[in-house]
Symmetry: C3
């Protein structure tokens, strides 16, 4: 049942860096899967910010090689009736609570397998009511990273919780999408794909024009607002050497619109 070579596990949580919770998870993995490499994907998610964790996961899960197991623990419903999930997509796996945090894998094109984590024989005991990261998700990830079989984890699930897809409307006259979040730099991510954004003669955020999509930050003056294509291939709003989130006092849910026009610029790549 064990794979020929040990795998790799990543950890994303809202546990912070002062309480030892993430280390407890790493310790459990070290006990059960000593040869597996464990990467911290970040423990700075705002407490309970499920959408923020999903957005972060979307940025890295496919960058890792096939066989990687991504643990995501942002779990305000821990100990209650929410299920724990193992999701398989594109050769990678993820484990975490069934609260939407694993949406990037669930929405992945291609076959997606979803398993409910049920087999208590895999868990660390006693299983606490407040820390399934240590007692459930870390042990199951260790099992899977070493080649454990889905059938030994639990039954298939057909209705996993997905985060609602933010609304995106595209017409010949333009597009209307939303800001999906902001990062540490204050860049505003959106759900508008490059192919739509690049056709706009003007982009507006919260009603304010930021002009056309530009190729790079340096195409704007220092302190100037601009639109460009972010590293995930979607429209982003930024301030060169500054924070668009602060400048516009804008965040998740703010409307981003574009007016179609001749596409004279190409995405910066």
């Amino acid at each position: 049942m064990a794979a020929a070579e040990p795998g790799r596990i990543t950890l994303l949580t809202d546990f912070g860096f002062a309480d030892g919770y993430a280390a407890a998870m790493r310790g459990v993995i070290a006990q059960r899967a000593p040869g597996v490499m464990v990467d911290d994907a970040g423990h700075g998610i705002e407490p309970g910010d499920i959408a923020g964790a999903a957005a972060a996961l979307a940025r890295y899960w496919l960058e890792y090689p096939a066989g990687t197991v991504h643990i995501v623990v942002v779990d305000p419903g821990v100990g209650g009736s929410r299920r724990g999930l193992l999701v398989r997509a594109a050769g990678r796996a993820a484990v975490g609570p069934d609260n939407g945090v694993l949406t990037p894998l669930l929405e992945s094109p291609g076959p997606v397998g979803v398993i409910e984590i049920r087999n208590a024989a895999l868990f660390r005991h006693p299983v606490s009511a407040t820390f399934h990261g240590r007692d459930v998700f870390a042990p199951v990830a260790a099992f899977i990273a070493q080649g454990g079989l889905d059938d030994d984890v639990g039954p298939a699930v057909f209705d996993p919780v997905r985060l609602p897809l933010p609304e995106l409307v595209a017409t010949p006259a333009g597009f209307r999408g939303v800001v999906t979040g902001s990062d540490r730099f204050g860049n505003l991510a959106t759900n508008v794909p490059a192919r739509l954004a690049l056709g706009a003669a003007e982009v507006r955020v919260g009603g304010r024009s930021v002009g056309r999509v530009r190729e790079t930050y340096s195409a704007a003056a220092p302190g100037e607002l601009l639109a460009l294509i972010g590293s995930g291939g979607f429209l982003e709003i930024a301030v060169r050497d500054g924070s668009a989130a602060a400048r516009l006092a804008a965040g998740r849910g703010v409307v981003v619109e574009g007016t179609a026009g001749p596409a004279t610029m190409k995405a910066g790549r």
Copy 2:
């Protein structure tokens, strides 16, 4: 003197993530023990917060496999007369300053060995007066993780500094303990073990009733205060989807009391 297989080291400090101090420690370990796996247990301890570091260490030191060496550097007395220690307990080891930060191992049931770090031949030279993490603790941990002998580190110590145990009184009528700290979520940890807490008909924090111990966060309404058993097996005070520390403006040292009554609930596990 070297063990057959390389070990594992964890690092807990108050160095933060912007100054390169923890990386300097990892570099020294990489030089001296190239095959040893090094895990960051967290560098976000508040500067000088010895009790906070000990509470974090308590959460993970036993989760790691036997043979692991835990480094803890929260060391406001660095360069002065405080000793450096190597502590052995339950098959694990820890190194750090003799200021109470290693209390979880010192209070461990079973045999505990304590050594003063004295052998300067093991150190990185020159030894600075301000950074024993790099110059003393990292090199000694690398030595121990590779099977180095205690006798080569220094002499036995019989009076290591322990953090005072917070007072806990249990009577047939109930218990009286204290809040020992709060975590990133604002959960208040206490020194009241589950067996006492579960017998209480009512729990009070700083004079305010939070009712009986409940099984999970979800047994409370969103925003409601509740008492439950935390992942370490002790009473915790929480706010569902919120911060008990903020709500009660309470922290370390606040009194937690329980009135005995029929134990009709079981710990959530």
Copy 3:
């Protein structure tokens, strides 16, 4: 072209811990150099703080063994005309933007090699205009850590960007230097080497006397300002159990002066 044994890579960025950017870089490295160990050197650099990143890098780059590749991504000019560099010094390598962040290696005594990163065949494609950490620097570091040749990266560079050396004046009557930065503890680093500082009868920061250089923090009373020699061998200004940066409201660029006098104290080491 591959080296006999896999190498080691460190990562220093201003990406924080909530957005998944650093994990994307680690994923790319895991894909391309599966056996290489990757250490987080810290992702808490203030956004765009090139001098802060260079100061952190200076603290650890030489602590790591020869063969280590240090990635530094603090890159406000990403996507524009700034070059990407590979620097070789003292048996280590570093990759990052040509904006001064690699100054510690560039100023290293001994031979220094500087290469412009040009060979797009090494990159992750498509190369985004906003995230060269993932698309350029991580792949090149993976290549170099596995024994890749400089000639396959790009041409030599003879005018890399260096941070200006802060002014230091030494005379028989004393010295005049500057604060180069502060760390998480509020310690003020300076550019005054121990040999100069130890000769001073009096040290002044921003015009305020802090007395002679002392050996350790504990030579001062709690809360007292003091001068001592930091772990890098330069004068530091500190407050015992407190923050000199807060106390003096001082930071980068503030003048530090010393009046020569009989050197009656030695550096604490």
